[in-house]
Symmetry: C2
Subunit: 207 residues, 2 copies
């Protein structure tokens, strides 16, 4: 259906990490680990170079039981993953509030709408109304492509959609490919610069 040429040799999709993901602060279900890692690394670079202050929020869990094996440490022995009420990432860049959600997509043809919860879409809509910069980062793992999509376009699709997924072609039309470097594997502020700060001012790499 969508003319995509070339076979992917991508092997780092987190399926292979199922047995180890629980050892880190993974997102619920362990999905999207590679993208999360790449964004965190980019955010670390932004932070250490004093370019922006953007962090991933902790994974929300409902804590049911806590043991106190000793005075110093509390051990949580029963907890459950919770549906997040907001997006995963937010912070500040050049005085502007930044807010986004990031998702990996395993399909070659489309991005399932259910990957982003409706209240997350509503949250992004609120952020826009209050003057923030809101977007979504979607990585098509099979193509090793990471797309920046303005939240407003995503919201429009969600509110008018008659289908359950967004075709890959839609991203080619509505998204912007995010450049990668070793130190900033998902250098999304380059896109924010282009869209919001292109006239005057400095860019995220100081140029």
């Amino acid at each position: 259906m969508y003319n995509i040429s070339g076979e992917s040799t991508m092997v780092n999709y987190p399926n292979g990490k199922k047995s180890t993901w629980a050892h880190s602060t993974a997102s619920a279900g362990g999905r999207g680990m590679a993208l999360e890692k790449d964004i965190n690394k980019s955010n670390d670079s932004y932070l250490s170079q004093d370019i922006a202050v953007i962090h991933k929020k902790p994974t929300p869990v409902t804590i049911v039981k806590v043991d106190y094996p000793n005075r110093a440490a509390a051990k949580i022995t029963e907890a459950y993953f919770k549906i997040p009420s907001t997006t995963d990432y937010n912070g500040i860049y050049k005085g502007r509030y930044i807010d986004f959600e990031a998702k990996e997509c395993a399909s070659r043809t489309s991005f399932p709408l259910k990957s982003i919860h409706l209240h997350q879409i509503k949250h992004l809509d609120s952020v826009i109304r209050h003057g923030g910069i809101a977007f979504v980062i979607v990585r098509f793992v099979e193509y090793d492509e990471t797309w920046y999509v303005e939240a407003s376009r995503m919201i429009e699709f969600y509110s008018t959609a008659s289908r359950h997924s967004i075709p890959y072609d839609w991203f080619r039309k509505n998204g912007i490919l995010i450049p990668a470097s070793y130190i900033r594997p998902v250098d999304y502020l380059k896109i924010v610069d282009r869209l919001y700060f292109s006239k005057g001012g400095t860019t995220s790499d100081g140029s």
Copy 2:
């Protein structure tokens, strides 16, 4: 040392809640529950009235072990509270990035510096440098007083302090008492309005 008159009859200090706090997404150690609840309620009101989008971040935990009793639900069976790398609350108000930390104080005479981690102080400092609005909310439980303190003043105290705590009198000189209402028990945006939006524009209650 500090001329404080009157005996407190406050009984809702979270010590009495020790056995139940683990049933909610409490902050590490279960301290500060009442203040947290009050701020969350205020934030809910700001959100539902479309005044601001400010949320508490989830309590950060390090997840060590996860069981899969059935296909649907993952059960976390071993996890530990983690020192937060940022503050507890952030969001957007009138186009400005908002960031703050909130702490209850059990002492009648002083606020221990160690209540706020050094990297949280550094985080607040970064937020200011990048153009955000940063502050700290401190509740002196015994007086039932909730203070708004500009992060810049707090940072100044931390960087010049020769003592291990901030005297209560310092808050009387440097802080602003936060008004309370039933629907907004910690109506801190009233103070933000006064400090940042007093000339023109509307206030948090639409007046």
